[in-house]
Symmetry: D2
Subunit: 136 residues, 4 copies
């Protein structure tokens, strides 16, 4: 199954397909899952991981709202989309910084995922800003 | 069941209970439910409600992430909490404006709920900013 | 804001308002929030609460899906609604049993909420079964 | 990013990695996204798609709860996991049947995704039942 195809075949997308946004949707979806799993794995560790559990659950919630909002292409909600992408970047940066402090496979993977997701959201945000400028 | 009590009895809240934040949590939770219901009711209307379905679903997703992040009091995530509350205000303002255009009971209720939720998030945001200033 | 009113004014509910189902929706929404908060509070406790964190997060996810599905009244999905209510009862029973083992305010509240939610879902399930029998 | 790796490296999974369950997690995650997108695309169609919007949103909610519960491996919640997988199969079957009635790319993709997800959940359910028998 391809998230790109899912979006490109949407009746209101058509020629207006934004590859960067599709990539951000895909990685925010993965990041929501990876963070949810990392929070659970953190609770199984012996050391005190409570701050990491929290940042992971927060990031999972934000990523999920992000990918769901960014997936909807019916109607217009571009201003909110920008705000949501910026919020997702913030959540991912915080979670990456926290996970980077812990030397275990799930936190390393989660930090990597958060970094990728933040980068993709940043790129998507730039293309949306460019589109706005092109409108004028 | 009381959302206020739920938060005030959290082991890391204690004397630091923020009544405004508790109110924002409660109303964001209700707003997520009301918007989810309004989107469904909109799809049952005869006229074209697609823009309203979209803004309601987007607002529901953002409100839910907001109340979940704002409920967690273990560890520190105050910066993200501020970003999330601001995003929630944005989503609620957009949804209120869209629902206010439609004259039916579910859209009227949803517009009212969004307005209240945005106000509560604004008040909570101010108390968080005050606390930061008080720290210095 | 009233969840009962939200449902009763839905364009496809009208005279067919099911008070028991509305009560189950409301309590599943609260239970999702209380379990989410209890998981976070559990992670702040000194003793090993990992099993309780897990059952709370699982129960929160199931309650949320339940209240959202049960809120939608457009179209027909009564069979799924029954399956979902039964699943919610199961999740609440497991979470109540786990939380009842821990003597702290958030687990006591969460256990109570899960018990109430399970009872309401059971009652709602019975009314749905009665309606099916009445159809024949 | 690999969902399989995410689960296999969990501190409480280790040698006990269930490939079928990992596949069900991955496809339930994708199915939640595809159904969420299909509901939005359906609202943009000219014909009356309200029943399809509803079954897609319901299925999205159930798939999401499913993949999140099935991802957690800390502690034990195997009984609930079985109930949740069975519920997911039910939701996917209903959504597949509804989407199969509509001849457009997003409904065709969604029907296919739901069928795959239901199959994977069925396989995962069998391996879990086998493990229970093997315990005795």
């Amino acid at each position: 199954m391809s998230i790109q195809k899912m979006i490109s075949e949407h009746p209101q997308v058509g020629g207006d397909f934004n590859e960067s946004l599709a990539q951000a949707v895909k990685h925010a979806m993965y990041c929501a899952a990876i963070c949810n799993s990392c929070a659970d794995a953190c609770s199984a560790e012996e050391m005190d991981m409570r701050q990491c559990i929290r940042t992971c659950l927060d990031c999972s919630d934000v990523c999920e709202a992000t990918y769901r909002v960014a997936t909807r292409r019916t109607g217009e909600n571009r201003q909110l989309l920008r705000t949501v992408l910026a919020t997702c970047i913030h959540a991912c940066e915080i979670c990456e910084a926290e996970c980077a402090r812990h030397d275990n496979p799930h936190c390393r993977r989660c930090a990597r995922m958060c970094r990728e997701c933040a980068e993709d959201c940043r790129t998507a945000l730039e293309t949306l800003n460019d589109e706005v400028h092109a409108d004028h």
